[in-house]
């Protein structure tokens, strides 16, 4: 098992990549980028419990990019599936059928449709039961696998397949990090593939702990967000630099921001790279909505700085 002290600089990042290539994910998938960085650190002694979503296409018999077991569950019930796998492993250990060192880490893998919506009740229950598992959500802010309809993770003002009007999606992105943290689990963190060192440190910390550990990865989605696949990492970096995606963790009852942008870029730098925000710039500049989005980010960071 890795410890946090293994990752001081980018030179310490894994040199070998163990997630198999040949997956059916879109070119430039921000979720796959995060998953392969995470898998390099978690290693092969893992069982993935996958809620329906883009990433259930990873393992279509007889093909899989994983090196260990994988279980497919319905959208709302991945944490329940994880409970079953954890219990089975524990029973095998008690019976002496597997040795302590052959134990596996149980990881739930879900998209935001499941994590923010359908699956949140099962997740809440699993945290209540203090289930020893890792929960990884790749958040591409919509139902990506079915054509990008809005989900509870969709941010204000974006265009989706079900919010095509000139003002985009009228709702607001749910604060899932705070909902999870309010359960007081062992660990909660936000991560992104574009910040691999921060990601590596958090994954190492999560795997050194036990109990419910929840990870939320923003996953820039070329198909759903409408941008050129080559910009996938660039957009991820901009999400951090503009303060749209705060990198933080909850551990020992405290929330700590792990990477506070010294000088935050205007949010437009992030928005204008994505086709889903195009209507805020063309044919007319929607100054009101742009200001509204900026104000909300400013208010967030004001609270971080002064409380």
């Amino acid at each position: 098992m890795k410890s946090t002290t293994d990752f001081h600089s980018k030179r310490d990042l894994p040199q070998k990549h163990i997630l198999g290539t040949g997956t059916p994910m879109c070119p430039g998938c921000g979720g796959l980028a995060a998953l392969h960085e995470i898998y390099d650190i978690m290693g092969e002694k893992t069982v993935f419990v996958n809620a329906a979503g883009c990433m259930t296409l990873l393992s279509v018999y007889p093909f899989t990019p994983f090196r260990g077991a994988w279980l497919y569950t319905a959208m709302a019930s991945a944490p329940a599936g994880a409970q079953g796998v954890r219990d089975a492993l524990d029973i095998l250990k008690v019976k002496g059928a597997i040795k302590e060192e052959d134990d596996l880490e149980v990881i739930v893998l879900t998209g935001d449709g499941s994590a923010y919506g359908m699956g949140i009740s099962a997740t809440s229950g699993a945290i209540d039961r203090d289930l020893d598992f890792i929960y990884l959500c790749y958040d591409n802010e919509g139902y990506g696998n079915t054509g990008h309809q809005y989900s509870a993770a969709t941010p204000h003002g974006v265009k989706t397949a079900t919010s095509k009007g000139s003002r985009g999606y009228p709702g607001f992105k749910k604060d899932l990090f705070s909902i999870w943290a309010a359960h007081k689990p062992a660990y909660v963190a936000t991560i992104i593939a574009a910040e691999p060192l921060d990601l590596a440190q958090k994954i190492a910390k999560a795997s050194s702990l036990s109990g419910p550990r929840l990870l939320l990865a923003l996953a820039p989605c070329p198909t759903g967000w409408s941008f050129d696949p080559s910009l996938s990492i660039e957009i991820g970096k901009k999400a951090v630099q503009t303060g749209v995606w705060p990198l933080k963790e909850y551990v020992d009852g405290k929330v700590v921001h792990t990477k506070i942008p010294k000088k935050r870029l205007p949010v437009e730098e992030y928005l204008k790279l994505q086709g889903r925000y195009d209507h805020l710039f063309h044919p007319h500049r929607d100054t009101k909505t742009l200001q509204e989005i900026q104000d909300r980010i400013d208010a967030y960071w004001h609270k971080v700085t002064y409380s």
Binding site: K10, G22, T23, H36, P65, S230
Partner: protein
């Protein structure tokens, strides 16, 4: 009944093209089916779409096995087995292909018995791959001989309504221009009869004996079997590393590659696994020394002396 099969890559407007053609038939009073095939609907991956149109109700279902016309929006798909472009093609099948090579060359290379028409990729109104799909739908509409320019124009307007005005107009013009371009040709897509269950020739079945479950669907414990899938075929642009400029930081391109298709060799140089690189070009944008360049796939394979 007309049976038209579209082939292309995700992002080339294949699905939209089939919808426009279906709509045009419908406006002309035909019974119509148009559907894309569910599968890897990913940018760059092979995409299929099917249009059936008939003056009488259509009882046929499923994918088109014996097309009257095959539309190929991107000629780089021709050698890709997964795209199965010539499957079920007969002498009467017309092949419409977006390609800069002359038609004779394709006919000779593929031993095509019937007609083949090439629409050049380069040319006015064909700047983006999405417009290739539009060029195809215009050409097919004309080659059918039963759809008027006005009917096509209405269908374009109805189906492109979600695009912004400038893009819709550009797409529409591309389609109508290639409609006009086809007026010079005598070739026509011919309707084929409605298949009846009694006379429908079955496909070439391979008889297989019933076997036990563990035989036909064995448990597989091997790791990373997805590597058997050559997703490199999705690529239209190829990243090429110039190792004289690479400063061997080793972690950047290899960490950011979403596929994990870049590994670092024993000397610290990154190497790209072209069998699996999908050509997203994240590495090109992220390399701090600009040591990675993007080349058009065909050009790159010509330079490296490969046959694809």
């Amino acid at each position: 009944m007309y049976r038209i099969r579209f082939h292309g890559r995700g992002g080339q407007g294949v699905k939209t093209a089939s919808r426009i053609l279906g709509r045009a038939f419908f406006n002309q009073g035909y019974a119509v089916q148009d559907a894309p095939r569910y599968g890897a609907e990913r940018r760059g991956a092979p995409i299929f779409a099917y249009v059936r149109a008939s003056r009488t109700p259509i009882y046929e279902r499923g994918i088109i096995q014996r097309p009257d016309c095959v539309v190929v929006v991107d000629d780089t798909l021709m050698p890709v087995p997964a795209a199965a472009i010539l499957q079920g093609c007969e002498k009467r099948t017309l092949v419409l292909l977006v390609s800069d090579l002359p038609a004779e060359q394709w006919i000779q290379r593929l031993h095509i018995q019937g007609n083949l028409i090439c629409l050049p990729k380069a040319g006015e109104g064909r700047e983006s791959p999405f417009l290739w799909g539009m060029a195809c739908v215009g050409a097919v509409a004309r080659l059918l001989g039963v759809l008027s320019r006005e009917v096509l124009s209405d269908a374009l307007r109805q189906e492109l309504v979600t695009l912004d005005k400038a893009a819709a107009e550009q797409s529409s013009n591309t389609a109508l221009d290639s409609f006009d371009e086809m007026k010079a040709t005598q070739i026509q897509i011919k309707e084929s009869s409605v298949a009846a269950a009694a006379t429908y020739p079955p496909p070439h079945w391979v008889d297989m004996a019933m076997e036990q479950g563990p035989h036909t669907a064995p448990a597989i414990y091997a790791a990373a079997t997805s590597e058997k899938l050559a997703t490199g075929l999705w690529r239209t642009q190829r990243p090429v590393i110039d190792h004289t400029i690479c400063n061997r930081c080793w972690w950047l391109c290899s960490t950011f590659c979403p596929e994990g298709a870049i590994h670092v060799d024993s000397k610290g140089f990154p190497q790209i696994d072209y069998a699996h690189c999908k050509g997203c070009l994240v590495c090109v944008g992220q390399c701090p020394t600009h040591a990675i360049q993007a080349l058009a796939e065909q050009e790159a394979s010509r330079l490296s002396g490969e046959e694809r």
